[in-house]
Symmetry: C2
Subunit: 623 residues, 2 copies
């Protein structure tokens, strides 16, 4: 059977195969937080023509059903179809997910006084050409020369194979490239070879993949590229992907998805700058523990099962040929080390990018995404937790939730008198849904305007047509749209409450663990794409961020790629990352006594203990 | 165009392609010492039907030409052909090239008091299963356990990938297999795993490939297999093959040829003993320096050019997957170390198989083949040379020469009165040619009977129909055959004289170099397949072997495979081989002053200085 899309593309669909499956098979990707299980309700498509058998309508409203909307994972073609994929169901790449900050990064590297020392080390040696009286083999001659330079290596077969010609071509005056950690000889080049050495730093995020092309001679960021992580098609969060990798036998799929993303970013980047794969000398990847496992093809099953054990936290330097990345076979690939199953290399990157591990002041580092990772500490100690905020800030589990891309409502004001809303939309386009920062804004405004009570429950007495009984109970109409209203339901609010409570409970528990009070925190670093749009005052008001003076908050952007960049350029920075990782004490919240209490206390606006939020208390009592 | 063989097979031949090339392309192998250059005259075939254009008849007699004989490398089809390949042109495998001596080898190993310690080392560790309080990653847990056992390794990606499942499947009570030299983890198995561990020792000879399947638990040789080295189709000796590898761009061909031979030997051997490739845990190869280079795919060009430099003499332990041998991807492959371009691992194997490097008595080790390698020394010092005897003892360069296989005349007696001959033929079959031992016999008998003078020239006055003027000058009819006479010509005799003179000159020069006289030599070890058929008295009489009492000569058979066997079983033996190789001082004869004088002096029967051959002198004066 044939499916024709409204943009003209055609694919086939087999009997008994859901439309979602058929789309995936043809690489037509749509959002599906749950990985196609019929629970997230994201894979909405419109049947324009033809017949489908529908297993379930999920949470689709009657109005939506009447308009031909179905869930792709619950729909099975019964003949040829014409299908429209609404923009909000499409997986597209936003413009704002990567920020190039070449100068900032260079300044950061310089602030460490770290020498540029990439993954490939070079030693130049002039060897005496062989004679009858000095007739040792080529390999022995090379070793003898390197011994004198204090370098002892292993020599792979293919290196020796190329060595015979290389030594003579370059007239015994050569530069040897080698990988210091694996103590492996990589290549020989002419002694006078200069320049043309590039590296690639990769941030493998759960949602996005960001790649920096870096000139290894001076640390200059040549170009940046990014895309959504195509693993998205198998689910929004790490847990769904682990399930797909293990129960679904999809480890190879997940691995291939992200490697293909990286390859698809590299190829045009090289082309644009007139580079060959041979110019790319090394790669550094930074990502959470699950991302690192999926990239290297390691079974992530035990990350998810108590006692939550990864295959590895520290990864040896392996080679591009082991990954499927289309670069030189022997190109070394370094992985920023992880701390534990839910605190990965992206957070270690964050620590070295903020330098919190070097400063005597107490810093709090927060990366708020699907998984919220929190680090507290200074140059003497660091503690870290991960709290599952859930994917709601990424748009999942929220009726009209979406990621912070074009069409997302990122800011909301509610008129205190009329309760009418004023919204700002990313890309200034037609609003399609609400992203994380919009949710936080909405929650705070709804609370301030008396629409929500302290427990986050709708105040039924509110007099406004925007507060109404919807299909899923009470809801607030954020925006009246042509194609239907954008609302936040009681269920949505509860999800957002749980997410913000989890983040704050993590902070509280960490503070308790170290016996600190909030005012001892000198700096709060907010990392991750979410941070770019976050309104700190609003986030404090709802009790997600601790109530500290605004000037203590620092938005760091993508610190994962920043860490990868640092590690790509300098051996000292790799050492720094490894030391930082080993110094971070991980607390497993899911088994830690006290977390549930902290979480329950935080399920209020701003908190059951208002004393923890003095500025909010003052504002509320002042009104 | 089509070529039909008299056995019914059919192949195609292209225009402008020699029949020799077409045969090779279809894997129909025939002898061709020169590699198809039209100089050796070995690739004789008979055109039964059809037309050929002939570039050259080489040394074919008019009679041979009349019978349809052509040189395959000089013949080009002009239409369909019917072709017969005479048995003497066929590459077939003899029965006698490998001798299994399981008990002798075991005794040898035991005489070293060497522990059985193959290339794969095993350590059993019981790891505490992970808990919330001890939640380090699997890899860190394994490393921690191994640290306690004093083992520090590198962990390949595929090892880590399998480790996650292995540790749990075997309930954290595991045996780790690793390769000590490369410090690389190989596999994890259940702690209680026993037996089923085999290794393969391979002797890669220029002419033959011999393979022993060895039970690594007790050192028992389970089975033996052998074949001709298919590189033969590219030429008989190492020089021709180096030329093919370099000028002909045929390195890959040569490599593939010998690897295919090894694979073709392994597969039936495993099948016969009900083994899987996974049972083969390690491989050791032993061969001359060129063979080792071709096996590993290293450009051998500089072995042949002054100052004669190999890519490597010592080879790191690499993996089966690097070689093309169809065993486990990570199966370690050890190469018995070489000494120099023309003294390889086969000779080092010979040294450790004879234990000459351990004994205070002075030993002389001789491996007489196409290349004659000689070692002299004891437990304190060793000197070695290689002298190019030329391929005549293997049958090449001799009009009716052939290898010591079925049909070869291996022994000749000439009646002192009638000058009639009495011959012995390998396999007691119809004589097809003369092998090395037959040549030595013939030379000595012809000299004793006055047919040859001391310079190896025919005595023209000899009254016998067997001594006659042939196409190539004077010749001696060794055998009157139905299909033509088997003769030794003046040119043949000169070749044999040069070969024996080269061997003896090597010995003389070595002795001079160390300031020794012959009587100081306590033992002479004769190695190589040639040794099996060698008549020592005759070889002394012609001045090839030194004039020492017969009981000092020891025939060792294939010492190359014996060395490979020892290295396969024991780390101490690998150390022994490496130490022996480093202790062997190589003298490059081709540039050494004095060799030419020694060589010229040895171009006599037995020698210009008869005092060096007292028993021959006595015999001659007694007659």
């Amino acid at each position: 059977m044939k499916v024709t899309f409204t943009d003209g593309r055609e694919i086939t669909v087999a009997e008994g195969e859901s439309l979602y499956e058929a789309f995936k098979r043809h690489e037509v990707y749509i959002t599906a937080s749950c990985g196609g299980k019929g629970t997230c309700g994201k894979c909405r498509i419109r049947i324009v023509d033809g017949d489908c058998s529908i297993r379930s309508h999920g949470k689709l409203s009657q109005e939506e059903r009447d308009s031909g909307m179905v869930l792709a994972c619950q729909s099975f073609a019964e003949g040829d179809l014409v299908v429209d994929i609404p923009v909000e169901s499409r997986l597209t790449v936003g413009d704002k997910i990567a920020v190039s900050r070449s100068k900032d990064l260079l300044d950061l590297l310089r602030s460490y006084s770290a020498a540029i020392s990439p993954l490939v080390t070079r030693t130049t040696i002039e060897l005496p050409p062989p004679t009858i009286d000095d007739n040792i083999s080529d390999l022995e001659r090379l070793k003898r020369g390197l011994d004198a330079a204090g370098v002892e290596l292993r020599y792979p077969r293919d290196f020796v194979s190329r060595m015979v010609g290389d030594l003579r071509r370059f007239n015994w005056n050569v530069t040897l490239g080698y990988q210091e950690d694996s103590a492996e000889a990589l290549f020989i080049e002419a002694a006078e070879t200069e320049g043309g050495r590039y590296g690639i730093a990769v941030d493998i995020g759960t949602t996005t993949v960001v790649l920096y092309l870096v000139d290894l001679s001076d640390g200059h960021v040549v170009d940046v590229a990014s895309t959504y992580n195509s693993q998205m098609r198998y689910g929004d969060d790490v847990i769904t992907r682990i399930v797909h990798a293990t129960e679904g036998g999809g480890l190879a799929d997940l691995r291939k998805a992200v490697v293909t993303d990286i390859n698809d970013l590299i190829a045009p980047l090289l082309k644009r700058h007139g580079l060959e794969t041979a110019h790319i000398e090394s790669v550094v990847i930074s990502g959470n523990t699950t991302m690192a496992h999926l990239f290297w093809g390691f079974n992530p099953a035990y990350i998810r099962e108590e006692p939550y054990i990864p295959a590895a936290n520290s990864f040896p330097v392996w080679k591009a040929s082991e990954t499927g990345i289309r670069l030189g076979k022997n190109t070394p690939v370094y992985t920023v080390p992880c701390v534990a199953s839910y605190v990965g290399g992206d957070i270690v990157s964050g620590v070295i990018a903020t330098k919190m591990h070097r400063n005597p002041e107490i810093s709090l580092f927060m990366d708020i995404g699907t998984n919220g990772e929190i680090v507290i500490g200074n140059n003497e100690w660091m503690m870290t937790v991960a709290c599952s905020a859930g994917p709601c800030f990424e748009g999942s589990g929220i009726k009209h939730g979406m990621r912070a891309t074009e069409g997302a409502i990122e800011s909301i004001r509610i008129d205190p008198d009329t309760l009418e809303t004023e919204i700002e939309v990313i890309g200034e386009s037609k609003p399609l849904g609400i992203c994380g920062s919009g949710m936080i804004d909405a929650l705070s405004e709804m609370f301030l305007r008396g629409i929500l009570d302290q427990r986050g429950k709708f105040v039924r007495e509110t007099q406004s047509p925007r507060v109404r009984e919807g299909e899923d109970g009470m809801e607030f109409v954020v925006h009246h749209g042509e194609k239907g209203d954008i609302v936040l339901t009681q269920v949505d609010i509860e999800n957002i409450m749980r997410a913000k409570a989890a983040v704050y409970a993590g902070v509280s528990l960490l503070l308790k663990e170290v016996g600190f009070t909030l005012d001892m925190i000198d700096r709060v670093y907010i990392a991750g794409g979410f941070g770019n749009y976050l309104n700190v005052e609003r986030a404090i008001l709802i009790g997600m961020l601790p109530d500290l003076p605004k000037d203590r908050f620092h938005f760091m952007g993508n610190t994962s790629i920043a860490g990868a960049y640092l590690c790509l350029l300098s051996k000292e920075m790799r050492k720094e990352a490894e030391d930082a990782a080993s110094r971070m004490t991980y607390i497993e919240l899911s088994v830690k006594g006290g977390f549930m209490d902290e979480f329950m206390s935080a399920l209020f606006i701003p908190h059951t203990d208002i004393e923890q939020f003095p500025t909010v208390k003052a504002m509320l009592s002042g009104e």
